[in-house]
């Protein structure tokens, strides 16, 4: 339980770490309608693409130094020496990031979705999708940033983006499914399936990578 408390303490006291990404997300959501001079109806049609891309970019921004700070100040080497389970700590860290950034973003995105598409029916469907998708995004970006730990986030992005493009394709299909009333739960199950694998494997891979970085 202590680990949850510590990770929460570390992230919540660093307001630019979690508030910054959320504000960027809000900014995108507000700025996007300003740049499109069309009727509200057409605005709703391309809204979802903007929503997915904004989620992707904000998660990228949020995880930029998820391990870098702990690496630079030596916390990671202390963790690695102590008997604690490194991959569990990493899983907790990723979870806290999702809790403080992913969940607020999902709710804000959901609210904007109601506002812009004027359809609370469809927006309810979007909420679980964006919750799951943001968790997957955080996991995959954490993997990329662990690989390029000391080498900057450009490399991390280059390495991770190919892994995420298929997911964006799936998210695009989800919107089609929602709009035409097709099999929506199949996609949700697929995303949940991907998440449930990732949630165990990614922390293990990351802890291996971090041990190699500390060498």
């Amino acid at each position: 339980m202590n680990i949850f408390r510590f990770e929460f303490l570390k992230l919540s006291r660093k307001s630019r770490g979690w508030l910054g990404p959320i504000l960027v997300f809000v900014l995108i959501m507000i700025a996007y309608p300003l740049t499109v001079e069309v009727s509200n109806l057409e605005l709703g049609q391309s809204f979802f693409s903007v929503l997915w891309i904004a989620t992707l970019l904000v998660m990228m921004l949020a995880t930029e130094d998820i391990f870098l700070e702990d690496y630079n100040d030596g916390s990671l080497e202390q963790l690695s020496i102590s008997d604690g389970n490194l991959s569990f700590v990493i899983a907790v860290k990723i979870f806290i990031y999702w809790m403080l950034i992913g969940i607020p973003i999902s709710i804000i995105g959901f609210l904007f979705c109601i506002g812009i598409t004027n359809s609370s029916q469809n927006s309810i469907y979007v909420l679980p999708i964006i919750l799951v998708a943001s968790y997957i995004f955080i996991n995959v970006f954490s993997f990329g940033n662990a690989l390029s730990l000391t080498k900057g986030s450009v490399l991390g992005t280059l390495v991770t983006l190919p892994l995420l493009l298929p997911l964006l394709i799936v998210l695009g299909k989800v919107i089609v499914a929602i709009n035409f009333g097709l099999n929506y739960f199949g996609f949700l199950l697929l995303l949940l399936g991907i998440l449930s694998i990732i949630i165990f494997i990614v922390p293990m891979i990351i802890s291996y990578i971090i041990r190699a970085h500390l060498e």
Partner: protein
Amino acid sequence: MNQIVKAKNLSYKINEKKLFQNISFDLNKGEAIHIQGENGSGKTTLLRIICGLTKPSKGDLDISTDAKITFLGHKNALKQYLTIEDNLSLLNLIHHPNLDQFLQKFGLDGCLDLNLASLSFGQQKKIALLRIFLNDSNLLIMDEPCVGLDNQTQNYLSNFINDELKLGKSVLFSSHIDLDINSDKLNLS
């Protein structure tokens, strides 16, 4: 089991470039080893190998199974944006019965809710040293513990270590300054 660390013919190389070769030593309970050497001779690497962070390129390293390591490296594992109190709770030291005594000794008792960033380098080092002073382990590993410390604290540290040695703990440290610790010398060249 009297022996804590047994190192035999340790060698380390990076990209085929040799750092040190054939280092052997034994460390028993109640003993200290002072690792000496020029800059870049691999002192830090040797300490990290003993911590298990780095693997030696060659050689055998036996660390007794009941060894519990406290490591103080160059990086002090403290968060600049947190208060001293939060930092101590991250280190799991905030409820330690002897904490107040040490804080008083270092003149830090009144400012637990200050941000760490507002302390000087030496004061931050003292907070990091609390990990050594309040340790619950039997193998203390310190990498240049005296950097940034005033004479008074250096003396206090060496006295403290000598007391710990009498309690049967083992100590490995590297330092450029000659500390007044009853230790064997190990020269990396």
